[in-house]
């Protein structure tokens, strides 16, 4: 079931009685979530991702625009009729019911021709429990479960009624680091097995990138970029997206292009054709640095951190907007520890040029 958001806007009236400021939480979203995919809504807090999620499931009304599930206009439909499953950030498991009762609860609400017999309900519950691998915990109460187990129960409850769409609100944020890795794989696996269109919200870019088929990057209510994670990483549309994705984060420099030559400080790092002369923001991915004594970019060496598989070279440069520059290099390359400076050559596909005023990406051929 694909989800289509058409010019969706959400405005919250101002809470402050004195000022008239409204908050535009979601500004004219217009995109389509393809059927059967795992989609991540990614962005810093306040970017409107949770609001969008709640509008998709119906707990939040739109200020304007339409939402379609497939070909059905569900904009005015109340949540219970939309056929969505929602996993809350705090799981919202009914504390007074056992796991089995929690999962069965949605099934007991079906009426009419959808009504199920007790056996059918039990069977579906068992299936859902098996899917998330908590079938051994069915008789426990939520307070007796760990965070990760509670979350799986929440997922089972959302899935048991076979929703058209599964929504997850910050599913991993309440888990400890170890569990996060494990659980995000679980989500991936479950989605692949059930093939249900799944949308989840997160502020953690690593999370989003690792499991999503498509990520939607948002900032302050406006969609910044949509695409497959690798594509968005490899080709960010603006400085924000470039900075948001990637660990360690992209290194940003102030520079300029003159006569096709991209310069940081006085040094020409790459050439780009068909770009008029202007001041620029230049972003270089950490893995875009190649240590080369003859390389054009000179930086002041601070330290070399050994990470085993790679090494991280920490250096500084006057033109850099970040306090330090991090470069990831192959550990086979040795950097003389005593040296004051280090020279780099830049991989052309790892350097991005941004317009200084608009911060939009300047697309061009880079050598």
């Amino acid at each position: 079931m694909k989800v289509v958001l058409q010019n969706v806007t959400k405005i919250f009236p101002s809470r402050n009685k004195k000022s008239n400021e409204e908050v535009v939480a979601v500004n004219n979203f217009d995109f389509t979530i393809p059927d059967g995919k795992l989609v991540g809504l990614l962005g810093p807090s306040g970017c409107g991702k949770s609001t969008t999620l709640y509008m998709i499931c119906g707990l939040q009304k739109l200020s304007s625009g339409k939402i379609f599930f497939g070909d059905d206009d569900v904009t005015d439909l109340s949540p219970e009729n939309r056929g969505v499953g929602l996993v809350f950030q705090n799981y919202a498991l009914y504390p007074h019911m056992t796991v089995k009762q929690n999962i069965m609860f949605p099934l007991q609400n079906l009426t009419g021709k959808d009504k199920l017999t007790k056996e059918e309900m039990l069977e579906r519950t068992q299936e859902a429990a098996k899917l998330v691998q908590i079938d051994e915990l069915l008789d426990r109460k939520p307070s007796e479960l760990s965070g990760g187990q509670q979350q799986r129960v929440a997922i089972a409850r959302a899935l048991v009624k076979m929703p058209r769409i599964l929504l997850l609100d910050e599913p991993l944020s309440n888990l400890d680091a170890r569990l996060r890795l494990q659980t995000r794989e679980e989500i991936r696996r479950i989605q692949r097995e059930t093939k249900i269109t799944t949308i989840f919200v997160t502020h953690d870019q690593e999370e989003a990138m690792s499991i999503s088929d498509v990520i939607v990057v948002m900032k302050l209510g406006v969609v910044q970029q949509i695409g497959a994670p690798q594509d968005v990483y490899d080709s960010p549309r603006n400085l924000f997206v470039a900075k948001f994705l990637g660990t360690p984060p992209i290194n940003v420099f102030e520079g300029q292009i003159k006569g096709g030559k991209v310069m940081i400080g006085d040094e020409v790092v790459v050439t780009a054709s068909d770009v008029p002369d202007q001041k620029l923001y230049i972003g270089i991915r950490p893995e875009g640095f190649i240590v080369d004594p003859n390389g054009p970019l000179t930086c002041n060496l601070q330290s070399v951190e050994v990470m085993g598989r790679d090494s991280s070279v920490v250096s500084t440069n006057d033109a850099s907007l970040n306090p330090t520059i991090r470069s990831i290099i192959d550990s086979d390359i040795k950097v003389a520890p005593g040296s004051k400076t280090v020279n780099f050559r830049i991989k052309p596909n790892k350097i991005f040029l941004f317009n200084k005023e608009t911060e939009e990406r300047i697309f061009c051929e880079v050598k």
Binding site: C57, G58, L59, S78, P79, E80, N81, V84, G85, L86, F88, N90, A92, Y94, P95, H96, M97, F105, P106, Q108, N109, L110, R157, K161
Partner: protein
């Protein structure tokens, strides 16, 4: 914490509290238990050196006391009725209040109002509302006297020949002519069609003749009555209308047919209307001059005037009830008490339950909404279970308070604890304790107090057991 070198300081601070507690709390517990086991303990006599048998005589006596058993029955009955009703009602109101936003604070304030009132003072208001003033044995009884004067102004009183609740028949003789008078008191004046039925004898003469005349009372919009006569010439109003409990008048006669009927109100010295005088002209069978014949209908004893509750009942077509006055029924008394106690109990319960409702995480409702749960199911499967600790608290304290019910009964019935003529009918356990105290029988009072405490304790334990199973924390 500051070290215990200054322990004595702590005890100084606590000193007043400790002393007072010792005298007025600890000592009483010990003493009351002691007195309970000394048969018929009377402190005066004890001071005088008398000794009392140690044993459970007081307890035996208590249970043998008829009054005690009445009190036990009253207390338990009131408890069993008021706690479920007030809890259920409070739950409904709290849930409803919680679901609306505008007006919520305002309505919350209104619902809390009974808590700040003086339970005896407002009890008096309730008593006034349920009251009946005047004749309470037969609520519809009205006495009428009818007398007629003939042309010599000689009066003859009609005799009551038949009567039931709404119907009076009089028969009288004036100058050898028998007149029958039927009076009907119908509740709904608009429904009654009185017929003063004289099938048509016409007169010649100066007065206008009517063939059939109907006389009836018609009710004005402001509640007063007027006499109306309908004649073949249309409707005539005979009287400008005064308060009257007389509802219908039917006049039949075996011999003569009426002419036009006139009516004048009859007033006493205070100018208050006490009846009507009807008169008409008629010619005796034997012949002769037309003569004025008067009939006076007087209400000689006032009907019971009723409080607002009965008025409302009658307005909606019911029968009035003697709620709390002399010779009222036990069921009616209990009904009034239940209404009053519930009215008083609602604020506290609503407050606690609302607090509980507001502490339920909204996300549970969101999750249930997404799952398409019906409103009823949300209430029963989610709200009430999550509210169960508060409900348990409210029920337990409800029972404890219910067993100690006393002042609300004083509020309605006064110190006599019952309707006039039946004192002590509604007495409760606590009242019994105080009665024994007033009668100087401390032993009996103590024993009863211990019994009461035991009952409360047992019931509370039972409640706690039940709540263990059904309450989710």
């Amino acid at each position: 914490m500051v070290d215990s070198k200054h322990q004595w300081k702590a005890w100084i601070y606590l000193a007043p509290a400790v002393v007072l507690l010792a005298v007025f709390t600890v000592w009483p517990i010990i003493n009351t238990v002691r007195m309970a086991f000394l048969a018929d303990y009377k402190p005066l006599e004890a001071a005088g050196g008398a000794t009392f048998a140690f044993g459970i005589a007081n307890f035996k006596k208590a249970f043998a006391f008829n009054a005690f058993l009445t009190c036990l029955k009253n207390t338990i009955l009131l408890c069993v009725l008021t706690v479920p009703i007030s809890t259920a009602l409070a739950l409904l109101i709290a849930v409803a209040l919680n679901s609306i936003k505008p007006l919520q604070k305002f309505l919350q304030t209104i619902f809390f109002l009974p808590y700040v009132t003086n339970s005896i003072a407002i009890g008096m208001v309730f008593a006034a509302m349920f009251n009946i003033i005047g004749n309470t044995t037969n609520l519809y009884k009205t006495e009428y006297a009818i007398y007629a004067r003939n042309k010599e102004e000689q009066a003859s009183v009609f005799e009551l020949s038949e009567r039931d609740d709404t119907h009076y028949s009089f028969v009288g003789n004036v100058d050898d002519i028998y007149y029958y008078m039927d009076l009907t008191t119908q509740k709904d004046i608009d429904k009654c069609d009185v017929i003063a039925d004289y099938s048509g004898r016409r007169y010649s003469g100066s007065s206008k003749a009517i063939s059939d005349s109907n006389v009836f009372f018609s009710k004005n919009s402001n509640g007063s009555y007027k006499l109306v006569a309908t004649t073949s010439e249309g409707i005539k109003y005979l009287n400008s209308g005064k308060e009257s409990s007389l509802s219908a008048l039917q006049l039949t006669s075996d011999s003569s047919k009426a002419a036009e009927i006139f009516a004048d109100p009859v007033l006493n010295e205070d100018g208050e209307e006490i009846g009507y005088r009807l008169w008409f002209m008629q010619t005796p069978l034997k012949g002769g001059d037309a003569v004025k014949t008067y009939f006076t209908v007087e209400h000689i004893s006032s009907i019971a005037s009723i409080g607002i509750v009965n008025n409302l009942i009658e307005r909606f077509g019911g029968r009035r009830v003697n709620w709390i006055n002399a010779s009222s029924s036990y069921a009616a008394n209990i009904f009034v008490m239940v209404v009053y106690i519930v009215w008083n109990a609602l604020p506290f319960k609503i407050l606690i339950l609302m607090g509980g409702l507001q502490s339920i995480n909204k996300q549970y409702y969101d999750a249930a909404k997404i799952d398409g749960t019906s409103r009823r199911r949300i209430l029963t499967r989610i709200t009430i279970p999550l509210l169960s600790p508060m409900l348990a608290y409210v029920i337990i304290t409800g029972f404890i308070g219910g067993f100690k019910e006393y002042t609300s009964i004083v509020g309605i019935f006064g110190d006599s604890m019952g309707p006039t003529g039946d004192p002590g009918k509604l007495q409760t356990m606590v009242g019994f304790i105080y009665d024994s105290l007033a009668g100087n029988n401390y032993g009996l009072a103590s024993a009863s107090a211990l019994i009461l405490f035991a009952i409360i304790f047992v019931v509370t334990m039972i409640n706690l057991q039940v709540s263990k199973k059904r309450v989710h924390y």
